[in-house]
Symmetry: none
Subunit: 412 residues, 2 copies
C-alpha cells in the first residue's frame, strides 16, 4: 500500500480563517488510485515548522503532497524552505519563464520582476506546469520519498493534480488495482439505504467494501473492489452493484460523477423536452445547478427569480389575490408559479419553490423551513410541502434537491 501525507501550509488555515477543502479533495483523488492517506497536517508559514514536518513526513510516507505558500509575495516561503531542506538553491527555468510570459501576454499585462521570480525553482525540482495560474507545481524525489508542491488556490491545485500529479504517481509507483462504482441516490437517508441493503452488504467478500457518502438531500453509495487484475475486479464490482440495485431502485438517479441535474438533463434531451424554473426561496440556486453544467442550454431555457412578491405578480402573473389569501408560502402560490413559468417560457416542465429559508421570517403557523415545491407539466401539477430545519444554506440546497427529484420521478 502506497502511503501519502498531505500538508497544507498557511496561517489562514491554522488561524481558522478559511476551511481547508484542498486536503479532502486530494485524499479522495488518491483514494481512487489506491493510494492511502495516512495523515493530513496544516502548519503555519514558518520555515522551522515546514522543515520539521518535512522530516517527520519523509519517515512515514512514500509521497508527501504539499499545498500553499507558493505565491510571489513575501509571506510565501515554501520554495526557499525546499532549498534549505534539500540543500540546494533556486535557478530560473526557461520553460517556467516561457509559461509566465505567455500567461501574461494573453492577459495583456506586463509582469513585474517580482512576478517573474515564480520561474525560479529549486535545482532538483521537476517542473509541473500550472496551466491555470502562475505559481509552479514541483515534483521532488528525495531519499526514496516523493515531495509534490502545489499552489493553495483550489482550482489551480486541482488542475495540477489531474494533469500532472496523478499520472506521475501512477507512472512512479505500481499502485494496486482498485475499482470504484458510485451509485447516486436522492429522496432518502443513509439509514434507510443501509437497512435495505444490509443482508447484501454482510455477504460481501473482504476485498469489496461499501461506503456511504451523505450530503444535503442526497446519499452516494460507493462500492470499492481491490485486487491484482483490474478487469476481474471491475466485473465483480459491477455484478454486485447489479445485485443490489433492485433493492433501492426508486432512489437511484445516476452513477459515478453524474449530478442529479445532469441525469435529468440527459433524460430531457433524450425526450426532446425542456424545463424552466420560478424560484423564490432557492433564489437562483436551482438555475445555477442547471447552468453550471456545460450543455444545459439544450434543455434549460431559463427562469424567474421571484424574490419580492411584486416579481411573483408582475413577472410570473401570480394573482395578487392568491398571495393575499394564502400567503406567498403556500400550495396555491407555488402552483401558479410553476404553471405560469412553464407557459411563459414555453417549456415542457415548470419547477417552482417558495418558502421560509431562515434564519428569520418564521411564524408559529409557518416556521422557518416551511417550503412548498411544485412541478407543472401539460396535464398536471404536482406539489409537495417540505418541513426542513433552521439552517438557510441547507434549506436552499435541500429544496433544490427535492424539486429536482419531483422532475426525476416524472421522467422515470
Amino acid at each position: 500500500m502506497i502511503k501519502a501525507e498531505i500538508i497544507t501550509i498557511g496561517d489562514e488555515i491554522l488561524y481558522g480563517q478559511i476551511t481547508d477543502t484542498n486536503s479532502q479533495w486530494i485524499s479522495a483523488e488518491l483514494d481512487k488510485i489506491g493510494v492511502k492517506t495516512i495523515r493530513k497536517s496544516s502548519i503555519g508559514d514558518a520555515e522551522e515548522e515546514i522543515l520539521q514536518i518535512f522530516k517527520e513526513s519523509q519517515k512515514r510516507a512514500d509521497i508527501v503532497l504539499i499545498t500553499g505558500g507558493l505565491g510571489p509575495t513575501k509571506d510565501d516561503i515554501t520554495k526557499k524552505t525546499f532549498c534549505k531542506y534539500f540543500g540546494t538553491e533556486l535557478e530560473v527555468r526557461q520553460d517556467a519563464l516561457d509559461h509566465l510570459l505567455s500567461y501574461f501576454e494573453k492577459r495583456n499585462y506586463t509582469p513585474t520582476p517580482i512576478i517573474l521570480t515564480q520561474a525560479e525553482l529549486p535545482i532538483n525540482a521537476i517542473y509541473l506546469q500550472n496551466k491555470l495560474g502562475t505559481a509552479p507545481g514541483m515534483w521532488f524525489e528525495h531519499e526514496g520519498t516523493i515531495f509534490v508542491s502545489m499552489p493553495g488556490v483550489p482550482f489551480e491545485m486541482k488542475g495540477l493534480i489531474a494533469d500532472a500529479v496523478i499520472p506521475k504517481i501512477k507512472e512512479h509507483f505500481s499502485t494496486p488495482h482498485i475499482f470504484h462504482k458510485i451509485i447516486r441516490t436522492v429522496g432518502t437517508g443513509e439509514t434507510i439505504l443501509a437497512d435495505r441493503i444490509s443482508d447484501w452488504e454482510d455477504a460481501l467478500p473482504a476485498h469489496l467494501k461499501v461506503a456511504y457518502l451523505p450530503s444535503v438531500g442526497q446519499v452516494k453509495l460507493r462500492l470499492t473492489g481491490f485486487g491484482n487484475d483490474l478487469a476481474t475486479i471491475e466485473k465483480e464490482v459491477l455484478a454486485k452493484v447489479d445485485e443490489m440495485l433492485p433493492m433501492i431502485q426508486e432512489f437511484v438517479y445516476g452513477f459515478d460523477e453524474e449530478e442529479l441535474e445532469v441525469a435529468i438533463g440527459n433524460q430531457l434531451v433524450k425526450k426532446n423536452q425542456t424545463v424552466s424554473v420560478a424560484e423564490s426561496c432557492t433564489g437562483g440556486y436551482l438555475s445555477h445547478l442547471f447552468t453550471r453544467n456545460s450543455g444545459s442550454s439544450a434543455y434549460f431555457w431559463g427562469g424567474v427569480v421571484a424574490y419580492d412578491n411584486s416579481v411573483k405578480i408582475n413577472q410570473l402573473g401570480v394573482l395578487p389575490d392568491t398571495i393575499e389569501k394564502n400567503g406567498a408560502v403556500s400550495e396555491e402560490t407555488v402552483t401558479e408559479m410553476a404553471q405560469n413559468v412553464r407557459k411563459k417560457l414555453k417549456t415542457t416542465f415548470g419547477l417552482a419553490t417558495t418558502g421560509i429559508a431562515g434564519p428569520n421570517g418564521g411564524t408559529p403557523q409557518k416556521p422557518v423551513g416551511t417550503i412548498w415545491i411544485a412541478l407543472a407539466s401539460e396535464n398536471e401539477t404536482i406539489t409537495h410541502k417540505l418541513q426542513l430545519g433552521g439552517k438557510r444554506e441547507q434549506n436552499i440546497i435541500a429544496t433544490a434537491s427535492s424539486v429536482l427529484n419531483l422532475l426525476r420521478k416524472k421522467l422515470m
Copy 2:
C-alpha cells in the same frame, strides 16, 4: 504564547469522505483568546497512529485538542488509547452515568449496556459534561501538557468548547493577545496589491504581519498583531490599516467577514435603493449570491435567468434585431438586458451578464471567456467586456464578482 495543536481522529476525514470543519472552528475560537494553533492533524482510527501523534504533539504544544473516536461502537478507540498513553485504566463515573441516565430518560429511551459504557472514563480524566449528547468531554493534565478530548459531532463539540473548554483554558493559562483585521478587495490581483503596499509592508514592526488570501476575483489582506495588551495591539493594527488603505482604496469593499454582495446590500439599504438582475452566462449564480444572505429581500427584488434567447426576447424584451445583428454576447444585448430588467422589476439598478462561459461555444471572434457585463441606472448604463479563461466555474464566479464590482463603484 500558548501553543495548541488540534487532532481529528477518523478514517472518514482521512479518506476524503467528509470535510473537517471542526478544526477550523476550534482554531478560530482559540485565536479569539490569544491561543496560537501551531498545527492541525487528521489521523486514522488506529491505536498506534494515535499514540504516535500524542507523543509528538505533547513535545510541541501546551494544549492538545482532540475530536472524534468517542462513540460507543467498536471502531471508536480514543478512550482506550488514552488509558494506554497515560498508563491508567477506565472507571465508571457517577456524574457521567447520572448525565447519561437523565439524557435518555428525557427522550423516553432505555439505554443498552453498551451505551452506558460512555460513563467510563480514564482515572486521570476531569469529566466535562456534554450537554448536547452522550459522549463525554475529558480534560487531562500530563507532564505539563493539557489534553482535551471531545466528540466529533460538530454541535456537541462546539457546546463543549464554549461551555467548558474555553473557560478552563483561560483559568489555566495566562493567554497573550492577538488582533486581526481583514481588508477585502475586488477588481485586482495579489501581485498588484503587494506592489502598492510593498514599502508600507517592509516597514511593519516584527509583531505585525500581513497575509494575502486570494480567491476567484477577490483578494483579502489580513493584518495581524501580537502583544500583551489587547487594546494597544488593536489600536496599533487599526492605525496601520488606516495608513495603508489610501494606497489601495479603489479596490476595498469591506472588512472582516463582510461579503461583497452584503457590503453592496448594506449600501443599498442605507440609500433605500434596490437591485434586480438579468443573467445569461452566470445562470442564476448572481441571484444566488444575493439571496444566500438572510435579509437580502430588503434590496434584492429578483431577476430573470435568460439562458435561451427566447427568454431574453420574450421575458426581458430584448429586441430580436439586437440579437440578430450583434449576437447574444454583445454590448448591445447586455445593455438592453440591464436596462429592461431594471424597468420591468422597478428597481434602482439593473445588472446583466451575457457571455461564453465555456468550455464549448467559443468562436474565433468570441472565444470562450468572452463576457459582457452591464449596470443600468436611471441616467446611464455602464458596460464592460471581460476576457476570461477557459474554466466554466471560474468564469461564472469571476463574472459575478466583476458585475457586483460595477455596482460597488457606482455606490461609492
